[in-house]
Amino acid sequence: MTFLLPAFIFYLLFTAYPIIKTFYNSVHLIQPNASDEFVGLSYYFDILFDDRIFSNALVNTFIWATAAPIIDVALGLILATALYSKIPFARFFRLAWFTPVLISYVVVGVIWMWIYNYDWGVVNTLLRTVGLDAWTEVWLGNPSTALWSLILVDAWKWVGFHMVVCLAALHSLPSEVIEAAELDNCGWFDKLVYIKIPMLKTTLVNLLILAFIGKMKIFDLVWIMTKGGPLWSTETLATYTYKRAFQWDTFNLGYPSAIAVVSFGIVLVLVLSMSWLSRSRERLEY
């Protein structure tokens, strides 16, 4: 039992206690050099019914957490299938695609700000080269393109991760089944849809849920690239909480705590219902 003690103390001090504190904050007015004042559930009502920025952040985070995992896993699976079919240089491809996973969001964010630069960024330069000048865009400055531009960067960073996991899962499948399908002249696409995807179902569902959990936390990339702008179009739950707690000089940690509690509740409900929906009896593997 004593083996568990150090880790458990850490858990109590730096995880359980802060969470309880956050719940406590969320029903109090917390100001420096003043005693806490009980305000009941008023923050919650404000957040749920009056705070347009919050609802915006919630929608953005939700779009991100739904779209990005699907892109990541789908692309990862397709790339993994390609490598699985004994392509030359497979090892090199695998290593190269995984690189972005290791690089900090801060670096990734700066690089992609250049790629999206209006005057000399790669995207607009490519569009101009092929004569599509009309399609050039201030990618991060236009509220209707900013969010999707960020989601693309996020996908760029994580596809390699999903590819590696899918590839490992593919290699662990019984090869007889796939060989049998090949003997039956089963096409590439049919093989993927009718054989590989059903057999990989558990892995894929786990990856989706895992990616969903990760994306609901997204902060770094947004903070480096757009700080939630323009016009709240890339605001996420994490960036909004951060702004209310440490940036806007409201000197009240109560309100952002309530935001944190609400986002926590939403994540919890969504994750629980997802793992329930997937109905896989195995425990969620992380």
């Binding site: 039992m1 858990y11 001090l13 730096f14 956050t22 700066v110 892995t203 994490a238 707690a245």
Partner: protein, 275 residues
């Protein structure tokens, strides 16, 4: 049939090469820009680095406190990873080996923290560190990192330790090993591959961590590398060439490590997702 196969295969290869350009291109571009001056870059953003301005590297390193940021990152990461490995292995050993009431409950609690959004803890952690005088200290941030990565570390290690054959431990007990000796002489040496996996995972996460660092550190002398890059970015916003050099300095150690330990790093990073 054979000709068709060759065509299909080369098509796939072309697509894959295209994706490789997409995945690795940005790094190549930055690496090239890091050797060019901003004037050269604004003349032609896609030119090649001739002549190569190697002097930009020492310049970026010495004019922006990089050595301090680097040292801070090394100290914090090493300390946190050490604590995580020892304490995580102990906790995982306990959960995997001893059957006691509440065993599964504790495991579930630890596991459920993995899904928590960081916002739920960060405000409370900020207040607690301020109260204990650990706000804006490297030790404070390191302790927070230990707590942050503990659940995943225990989760991965428990999965590995639980599969070790029980006979081994029964035999050791028969030979009169104490609980501590069993952990120290059996679980740790056998569990070394799993532990090194978590070491890699934790190192990369902590090395790159940004949110907690930005909240908990203010003083420039305590900043970690990601914060340093952010500051460097603020100072050199229009100096694209120098900023590219700064980014490369941050990327190079990771890439060098990746060249030598690529398989182990891939395995470490995906350890949570594949079992």
């Amino acid at each position: 049939m054979l000709a068709r196969n060759v065509i299909v295969r080369s098509l796939i290869l072309i697509v894959l090469a295209g994706y490789t350009a997409f995945a690795a291109g940005p790094f190549v571009w930055v690496a090239i820009m890091s050797l060019r001056t901003t004037t050269e870059i604004s003349d032609n953003p896609y030119g090649l680095p001739f002549p190569a301005h190697w002097w930009k590297y020492p310049e970026a390193w010495f004019n922006s406190n990089y050595e301090i940021y680097f040292l801070n990152s090394v100290l914090i990461t090493t300390g946190a990873v050490l604590l995580l490995s020892v304490m995580g292995a102990m906790a995982a050993h306990c959960l995997a080996r001893y059957k006691f009431r509440g065993n599964r409950l504790i495991f579930f609690l630890i596991f459920s923290t993995i899904i928590l959004p960081p916002q739920i803890t960060i405000i409370g952690i900020f207040q607690i560190l301020v109260n204990y005088g650990l706000y804006d200290t490297r030790v404070g941030l390191m302790l927070v990192y230990v707590a942050m990565q503990m659940p995943l570390t225990v989760f991965i290690l428990e999965g590995f330790f639980a599969r070790l054959p029980q006979d081994l431990f029964d035999a050791a007990r028969m030979d009169g090993y104490s609980d501590f000796e069993i952990f120290w002489k059996i679980t740790l040496p056998i569990g070394l591959p799993a532990i090194s996996t978590t070491v890699i995972l934790n190192m990369i996460y902590i090395w790159n961590e940004f949110l907690f660092a930005v909240v908990l550190l203010v003083d420039d002398g305590k900043r970690t590398l990601p914060l340093g890059i952010q500051r460097f970015m603020g100072d050199n916003l229009d100096d694209t060439g120098m900023l590219a050099t700064g980014l490369m300095i941050a990327v190079i150690p990771v890439i060098v490590a990746y060249v030598f330990f690529s398989e182990r790093m891939i395995q470490g990073m995906t350890a949570g997702a594949v079992k």
